[in-house]
Symmetry: C2
């Protein structure tokens, strides 16, 4: 189904509800709550979003809950007190039951997320609403999420800009003698500046022989002259993720290394030219893989050629031979060709693209180069 790229997630969900006669949706997965109302619940706290055709009610812990607005009613439960010992499970369950009862719905058609709503809340949901029919809307929400609304594209672009900043900072500052942990800490500091607050960053920081392993967390390993260094960073700003990669050469790279990186540049460029609405993702994989194959490195590229990003750093559709998905306008995808040779090392190059009516637009602006430092 081609989606309306201008519609927000909430509008898309309500369109589905209207089409399927759902009177209420009870949303449980934290990233789906964030996708629909912009509030991403903290870990280890229960939250729920109740959506009807005309209203949205967020149930959230009091600490850090958003202010109510014209579009969003907010009901909170106390999660901090010095007057009593707080019992989060019992208190959040009681608040959930109150929120459901406040809907004043009898035997509705219900959309919910049985793979994510814990059992006690599900039992209460069944008791209070007594739904005549229910639908698991998690797969629907996953599908709706694939096509980004304009505000989501902007959020992802801010995260991609943070990755541009990371690579620029590393190009200025790292050198032989730094550790992988130093590289990681510089990346964290850059993301904190971009977020003007706490940094949320995951990624791969592997150097020297570790580059053969494709990825991994940073270690105390010290960068040596002649090393390759793969920096694959996925920062999250305001709930939205980017995911880009550059490979660094510590000192002047050999011609062989330059040539192999050239294969990655060519594979990414070929993928970029192919991107457009209607292209099966398995074909886009084949385009990227084909360039690597023809250069003789097909057996050295064991992973996907890319994936989508959004409220997670890696989500469907994926650029893999085993996918049946098709690109649509408004998807944001990564392309990430790589080459990994035992005894030599590994390199990867990754950029993020918005699928447009005409083809695509690159969201990252840092040069697609092997970075010599």
């Amino acid at each position: 189904m081609a989606q309306n790229t201008a519609a927000t997630g909430l509008q898309r969900l309500r369109n589905h509800m209207a089409g399927h006669g759902l009177q209420v949706c009870v949303i449980s997965l934290p990233i789906h709550i964030g996708y629909l109302c912009g509030y991403f619940p903290p870990a280890n706290r229960f939250a729920s979003l109740l959506v009807t055709p005309s209203e949205a009610l967020l149930l959230a812990p009091a600490s850090g809950a958003p202010a109510p607005s014209a579009d969003l009613a907010v009901l909170t439960y106390e999660d901090y007190s010095i007057a009593r010992t707080v019992h989060l499970a019992a208190d959040s369950l009681a608040a959930f039951a109150r929120a459901l009862a406040g809907l004043c719905l009898a035997a509705p058609r219900l959309g919910w997320e049985p793979s994510f709503l814990p059992a006690v809340y599900a039992d209460r949901l069944r008791t209070v609403l007594n739904p005549i029919q229910s639908e698991d809307v998690s797969p629907l929400l996953e599908a709706l999420r694939t096509v980004k609304a304009p505000a989501e594209v902007q959020a992802i672009e801010r995260a991609v800009a943070a990755t541009d900043d990371i690579f620029a900072a590393l190009e200025r500052s790292i050198h032989a003698g730094c550790s992988e942990l130093d590289v990681y800490s510089m990346a964290l500091a850059t993301v904190a500046r971009a977020a003007a607050g706490p940094a949320v960053l995951d990624g791969d920081f592997v150097s020297g022989p570790r580059t053969e392993e494709i990825g991994g967390p940073p270690t105390p390993r010290i960068l040596q002259p002649g090393d390759l260094l793969i920096v694959d960073v996925y920062p999250c700003l305001a709930g939205y993720w980017a995911d880009t990669t550059r490979t660094f050469s510590i000192g002047k790279p050999s011609q062989q290394t330059v040539d192999r990186h050239g294969v990655l540049e060519e594979a990414l460029a070929a993928g970029r030219r192919a991107i457009g609405p209607g292209l099966p993702t398995r074909e886009l994989y084949a385009v990227v893989k084909g360039v690597i194959d023809r250069a003789g490195f097909g057996a050295c590229f064991p992973h996907h050629a890319g994936h989508c990003v959004g409220v997670t750093p890696s989500e469907d559709p994926r650029l893999i031979p085993g996918s049946d998905a098709v690109l649509e306008e408004g998807m944001v995808i990564t392309l990430e060709p790589g080459i990994y040779l035992a005894g030599w090392g590994g390199m990867r190059l990754e950029d993020n693209f918005l699928v447009t009516a005409e083809g695509c637009r690159s969201l990252s602006h840092y040069p697609l180069k092997l970075v010599e430092i």
Copy 2:
């Protein structure tokens, strides 16, 4: 109930199972899985730990799953493939059903976590096991967690040592002109070095007028001469958290500031002398609060006087007037007196203590001082 401080969480759970005739426990809360087997599941992936009197079986996503051992069988489900689109919810549910069927239990007495196991898995649990009786073991696990086993104390001490390192690094490096974000980034880099890997750190980084607000995330605000700066850091190393605080003075503090910090030092020392098995936590609150009251700042101390730490940075029992809990040997608690005055600013001092048979042992070693920089 006084617990055996030498026993691991898994041994304590099995003791309870034996006493209550439970044949199997199905554990769902990620921090409880980590508490019992040392593996902390990633966000957005289903995991479960099945515990019988003689065996423990972990169901986990294949990426990052631990190796099986003599004490822990491991069953994984595929969460990455290029050959097919992975359906995490369906695949993890099927694996969960296989794990349950493999127990070969008919109508057992079951312990489980209905506040955390999602509905579809709960329905499968009921269908496959058909339990004759079931008990919510989440409150039990919360209670068992309060008294730390020796390996847990060591893990917390490593996290506390990272907070010592943070304060020492800040004392060396920060100055007027740094931003709160710079302070935060230095703390992150210190935690990454301590962890020899990715940094998990939360905390309060507030300076100048923001110190009146008790806490909050770091912002781009620049430290000014004469500012106070509250650094309340809670790093997590290998699943275990510490939580300590120091207040910094940017430039030479006034005598009034020194005197007020002296009240915090006295309040913390009084609390420390009082700590011991059998002491009601509300009385420990009263000891700390009493010192602040007598100095005339009782109205300026609105929060708890401390709490426990472990697989979360803040957990029961809490040092609040509304608690009925009693200290036990093996608990690890923070003491955190604070003073916050509108128009002046705020200060807090916090250290972590292991409750011992004789009283307590301080886990942090950085001086309990107002840090002048």
